[in-house]
């Protein structure tokens, strides 16, 4: 077995930062030191070497919507974005509410071999909010995160029972916080812009009511709750208070919710339509503050590919969602005023723990650990060109934007799946 050396970089993980080379053999880190040798060398000069990123929130569209994305194309986008593990949301067709679909997604992930693909299970059968999905059966097969993402679980009684049932299984339930009756027909943030544009508004309170409800259900049941894609200032406050109370609540935010505001909808371009919607500058400030003080644990992309024809419909008919995997790191580095170690925590070891993947991902860069690593240049500037993205779809809201921070190499189990910014398979 050949020995791989990552040379010239700065290692940054949960234990600190140092100018260190890393040697890898047989999928594991075998040496760290000032200089190490290898049969193959990856140049990391000027780069940070860190545990691979973990995305808690990815829509891979397969099975069912392969015209938008496949597990292979989505995995490639993930690897190029520095992710070594991604959680695949269950709103596929069929939904990920049975062992058969879960195993299919995993098999396609292994076949692509670009990152670990971990399908999330549904909370309810076919995400319909009516009957519990087979948690026990799926948990026994290793599923650790359950969600009806795309839909919030509307019925509080059902959600209470789901949380109670989950206690026996060491799983985490993740909520898409949206009270559906408050967002009927909603297209964009309810506020100053939607009024003039004549578009039905998605009020902040539709998210905050469910955030509040699930925090209280967490208090009642003691079960872990993860809150997906927080978008409002008040949601961040509610989670902050819940954490002060010591509740097992975690939360994530998507890069678009700390970079883009609802004013962008003024041109009626569906590329800016997303759920929950882009909100105000004040909300962005609150999301950033929540990330900075750890109220929000993780940066998760909510990568949501849609083919061009779907995004060429009028705004109210176009599906919500935007690409995220290939721009997340750069947006975090460009837009967040946080210590680099905290950014990497939110991209790697904290989401790894939430996803139940801390045995393989977000591990320290140390001898004996699995070599799931990313090497990125924090100063490299690049311009987002939709046609150059690896995703099968093109719906990035950042087209033409120049960002700072680019992945150079990604290693999955010691295998360089991205080298010099190019996917190897």
């Amino acid at each position: 077995m050949s020995r791989l050396a990552i040379r010239g970089g700065t290692v940054l993980d949960q234990s600190g930062q140092s100018r260190t080379d890393v040697a890898i053999e047989d999928g594991r880190i075998v040496d760290v030191g000032a200089t190490v040798d290898g049969d193959v060398t990856l140049d990391a000069s000027g780069c940070i070497v860190t545990p691979g990123f973990v995305d808690l929130h990815v829509h891979l569209r397969e099975p069912g919507r392969e015209e938008a994305e496949t597990i292979e194309t989505g995995s490639r986008a993930a690897a190029l974005g520095g992710f070594t593990a991604i959680v695949a949301m269950p709103n596929t067709e069929p939904a990920q509410d049975s062992l058969a679909v879960i195993e299919f997604v995993r098999a396609q992930g292994r076949r692509a071999g670009l990152c670990d693909v971990h399908p999330a299970g549904c909370i309810t059968v076919n995400r319909e909010g009516a009957a519990l999905a087979p948690f026990g059966e799926l948990a026994a097969a290793g599923v650790r995160l359950f969600t009806d993402d795309g839909n919030g679980v509307q019925d509080p009684q059902l959600m209470r029972h789901a949380l109670e049932y989950a206690k026996a299984l060491d799983i985490t339930l993740a909520q898409h916080c949206e009270v559906a009756s408050l967002t009927k027909g909603a297209v964009m943030h309810e506020g100053s812009c939607c009024s003039g544009l004549g578009l039905p508004g998605w009020p902040a309170i539709a998210e905050e009511l469910m955030v509040h409800r699930d925090i209280e259900l967490c208090r009642l049941t003691g079960s872990r709750v993860h809150l997906l894609h927080l978008s409002t200032a008040r949601s961040v406050e509610l989670v902050r208070a819940a954490k002060i109370d010591g509740l097992p609540v975690t939360a994530e935010a998507a890069p678009h919710h700390f970079t883009l505001t609802h004013e962008l909808l003024a041109g009626y371009d569906p590329v800016f339509k997303v759920n929950p919607p882009l909100r105000t500058a004040d909300d962005i400030a609150a999301i950033k503050a929540g990330l900075a003080d750890g109220t929000i644990d993780a940066i998760a992309t909510d990568h949501a590919p849609h083919p061009p024809e779907a995004k060429e419909a009028p705004l109210d008919q176009a599906p919500p969602g935007m690409l995220g995997l290939e721009t997340a790191l750069a947006l975090a580095l460009t837009e967040l005023d946080m210590p680099l170690a905290d950014v990497l925590a939110a991209l790697s070891w904290k989401p790894a723990a939430i996803a139940g993947l801390a045995d393989r991902h977000g591990r320290p860069v140390a001898v004996g650990e699995p070599a799931n690593l990313v090497v990125f240049d924090p100063d490299a500037e690049w311009t987002v060109v939709p046609a150059k993205l690896a995703s099968k779809s093109r719906n990035t809201p950042y087209a033409g934007r120049t960002l700072r921070g680019k992945v150079r190499h990604t290693l999955l189990d010691g295998v360089p799946v991205v080298v010099d910014g190019t996917a190897q398979r």
Binding site: S195, Y268, E312
Partner: protein
């Protein structure tokens, strides 16, 4: 001017110039043969993705009086029902040679979106809750003519009453009236006002009786039955009691005040009195002026600037 998508795109002088051009169109419309060759050879396509009788007929009449060729395209008779995308529909028709599309769509922003896919001029004939700019222009023309306000609406007091939240007419009228200098008051129950109405350049009232005595123009909007489904109103009867124009309420208006409505009216709801018996009603004038205003818009967008005076051959 390439498109007419929103009143927002027009400043006061642009609106006033369109109204002056409308004067010429009114004169043409009153001739024994109300037709000029100004737009001969131009192809105007009506693209209505939502039902409308008066707006479509009005545009059609306007285009014909200017000798344009016209073509109607409706959802029911189109391939949209076969799953064709909006973009494909536009590109296909545009490929036949179109100078202007008159677009009505239930989605706010659809006309603006269409501008990306064709080089033809786009005239917004109503999109969702967003805009209905030719309605606002014909309303301005009607007020200008009826109250003899050729130079603008400075000091004029206008109330718009009804379902503001879901109304493209309200959005266009508020912009047009205030741009011309009028003072606008919106009168509606809070549930029928848009969120963040505080940002609009208007006053808000929930008391129609208190507003009526100071008005120069009372503008009523249609209130639709489906608003009860979302618990925005207890009943149309209650709406009518609080906000409907009864003969008694009409008596509180100053003698010179105009009563306007974009149609179609809900008799017995927002319009309880017989509009035919209201001395200030200019509702049919609005319809008449609609043709002339749309002629002005078509000529401004498609005309070569040549003489308007000739007869059609």
């Amino acid at each position: 001017m390439k498109h007419l998508l929103s009143i927002e795109d027009l400043d006061a002088s642009a609106i006033l110039r369109l109204l002056e051009l409308t004067d010429h169109m009114v004169e043409i419309s009153q001739r024994p043969i109300p037709k000029v060759p100004a737009l001969r050879g131009k192809n105007v396509v009506s693209l209505f993705f939502e039902d409308s009788t008066r707006t479509r007929t009005s545009f059609d009449t306007a285009a014909k009086r200017l000798s344009a060729d016209t073509m109607n395209f409706t959802v029911s008779s189109s391939s949209v029902n076969k799953g064709e995308s909006l973009r494909d529909t536009i590109e296909t028709i545009a490929a036949m040679g179109v100078d202007a599309f008159v677009v009505r769509h239930r989605s706010s922003g659809a006309p603006q979106m269409i501008t990306r896919w064709t080089t033809a001029s786009i005239i917004n004939a109503g999109d969702g809750w967003h805009q209905h700019p030719t309605q606002a222009l014909l309303d301005c023309y009607t007020i200008r003519t009826s109250l003899n306000r050729r130079d603008g609406f400075d000091g004029l007091r206008i109330a718009i009453v009804g379902d503001i939240k879901h109304s493209r007419v309200a959005r266009s009228d508020v912009q047009a009236f205030t741009t011309l200098g009028a003072h606008v008051t919106l009168v509606a129950p809070p549930t029928l006002l848009p969120p963040c109405v505080d940002d609009w350049p208007v006053d808000v009232s929930h008391d129609l009786d208190a507003v009526l005595p100071d008005l120069d123009v009372l503008y009523l909007l249609r209130v639709q039955r489906e608003r009860m489904d979302d618990a925005l109103l207890p009943s149309l009867r209650e709406y009518s009691t609080m906000y409907g124009l009864t003969t008694r309420r009409a008596g509180r208006l100053p003698a010179h005040a105009l009563v306007m409505h974009p149609g179609p009216m809900n008799r017995g709801v927002e319009m309880v009195a017989d509009p035919g018996e209201l001395p200030g009603s200019v509702i049919l004038d609005q319809v008449t002026n609609g043709v002339a205003v749309r002629m002005a818009v078509l000529f401004r967008l498609l005309g070569s600037g040549a003489d308007l005076g000739g007869e059609a051959s």
